[in-house]
Amino acid sequence: MLVGWDVAVEIRSPGSVFGADPAEAIVDLLGTWTIRLLLITLSISTVARIVKRPKIVTLRRTVGLWTFVYACIHFTAYFALLAEFSISAWLEDFSERTYITAGMTALMLLIPLAVTSTRNWQRRLGLRWRKLHALIYPAAMAALLHVLWAAKASFLDVFIYGLALAILFGERIVVRIRRRASKGAMSR
């Protein structure tokens, strides 16, 4: 939302918001919010488990879809403002620049998740739906690599995102081990 407002102000008075290189700044800002939303999406079930409010998980679909929307706008902004609608420039980036490859991979992994996010698809896929939506993990890894490989010399952002992702992954592993242990205890 805020990005939209900033863009509107920028169009009225060029240079006022995004500086000398608005194209790069906008693509960057959209990307930043995409990975933040992705991490927020992943953290919802963790938070629900910690505060023991399973209902919070119902938020996940909405936030996840916003993540996808931001990822799409981020890509569109890149394609329009940096690649200047040139498919060959995009393909060159995709095949030769590893950080673009990683970013495109993350986006493509999100597509089936967005498509099957409806209750209808959830019912239709049954148990397979869970397996399919585990694609969020490789997508998050690809997004992190995208940020890491795009970085020049400053790694604070990458460190924070990586740490957040490690905590979220770690929590899931702990939950899984505990579940297995309690199942084992029951069967004895």
Binding site: G15, G19, D21, P22, A23, E24, E84, A150, A153, S154
Partner: protein, 291 residues
């Protein structure tokens, strides 16, 4: 050639009188004027890569004011007849300052056109009586973490102080200058006050800012970006549209300021940033290996 005295620095140079035909007469450009029009000053002073103040483009403008540039000493060392520590006032005494309008091509594939005020690097180096054995010149940027927050960062892969260097014949090329001003005024801190290098045929990171040490050496000096990522940034770092950075193309550049919907001003990058007269310095060298 437009020449102004060092004393005239504080006041504004009559730029308008200069701009008409100045570049053509110097032969520094043959590109259409729309492309090589001088970048408005506000953009050149608010969009900077000076990681000592932070990695965001606006960090140097916001945090650079903390830097004290008076007094300023430059240590001259190595293979020179007159080593020592020189006050910047002494270095500038008797120097004829001139305005040079140069394209500035950043390795990140953007560019600007900047009217620098400075003097040939050669005239400075010769004052220290370089010895015959000197083959290279090495420069060091100020290291003062209390005024340069970027030097305190735990998440930077750069080791400070920032160091750069040139081969001596490159340093002696008349296009290589030491700048003390831009846009008719003293250099703002974010642009490398009070003394910086400008080598227009190389990527911007070679043009080291806020210099406190100059050393003449026999062996090739280490350079910061080469130390940070040697596969991405070479010692020479000549602008070359045919040798790509591993993560992006160097074939074109975006002339800043760009605006969102009426023209990104993407232009073709030229060999040696259009300063073909330096080609002789690299005759017979494999530029793909010596990037």
């Amino acid at each position: 050639m437009h020449v102004i005295g060092a004393a005239g620095l504080a006041s504004s140079v009559p730029l308008a009188a200069l701009q008409a035909g100045w570049m053509d007469s110097k032969g520094f450009t043959s590109a259409p004027p729309s492309e090589d029009a001088v970048t408005p000053r506000g953009y050149a002073t608010s969009f900077n890569n000076f990681y000592e103040f932070g990695t965001d483009k606006n960090d140097p403008a916001e945090l650079g004011s903390r830097l004290t540039t008076e007094p300023w000493n430059v240590e001259v060392a190595g293979l020179v007849g007159k080593p020592g520590t020189y006050d910047i006032e002494d270095l500038l005494a008797g120097v004829d300052l001139e305005e040079r309008i140069y394209r500035l091509r950043c390795v990140e594939a953007w560019s600007m056109v900047i009217p620098w005020i400075g003097f040939p690097l050669k005239t400075l180096l010769e004052r220290f009586n370089p010895l015959g054995s000197a083959k290279y010149v090495a420069f060091t940027t100020l290291y003062r973490p209390e005024e340069m927050p970027g030097q305190r960062s735990y998440f930077s892969s750069i080791k400070y102080p920032y160091v750069e260097g040139l081969r001596l014949d490159e340093a002696y090329h008349p296009l290589a200058i030491m700048a003390v001003g831009m846009y008719g005024q003293v250099l703002p801190n974010q642009n490398g006050a009070p003394l910086r290098l400008v080598v227009p045929w190389k990527y911007g990171f070679k043009s080291i800012k806020s210099i406190v040490r100059i050393e003449l050496t026999e062996t090739r000096p280490r350079t910061t970006w080469n130390l940070t990522a040697s596969n991405e940034y070479g010692f020479y770092a000549n602008v070359n549209p045919t040798v790509h950075h591993p993560r992006w193309s160097q074939g074109s550049e975006r002339r800043l300021p760009s605006s969102l919907f009426n023209g990104n001003r993407k232009i073709s990058t030229r060999m040696y940033n259009g300063y073909e007269e330096v080609a002789g310095l690299y005759a017979g060298m494999n530029l793909r290996l010596n990037y």
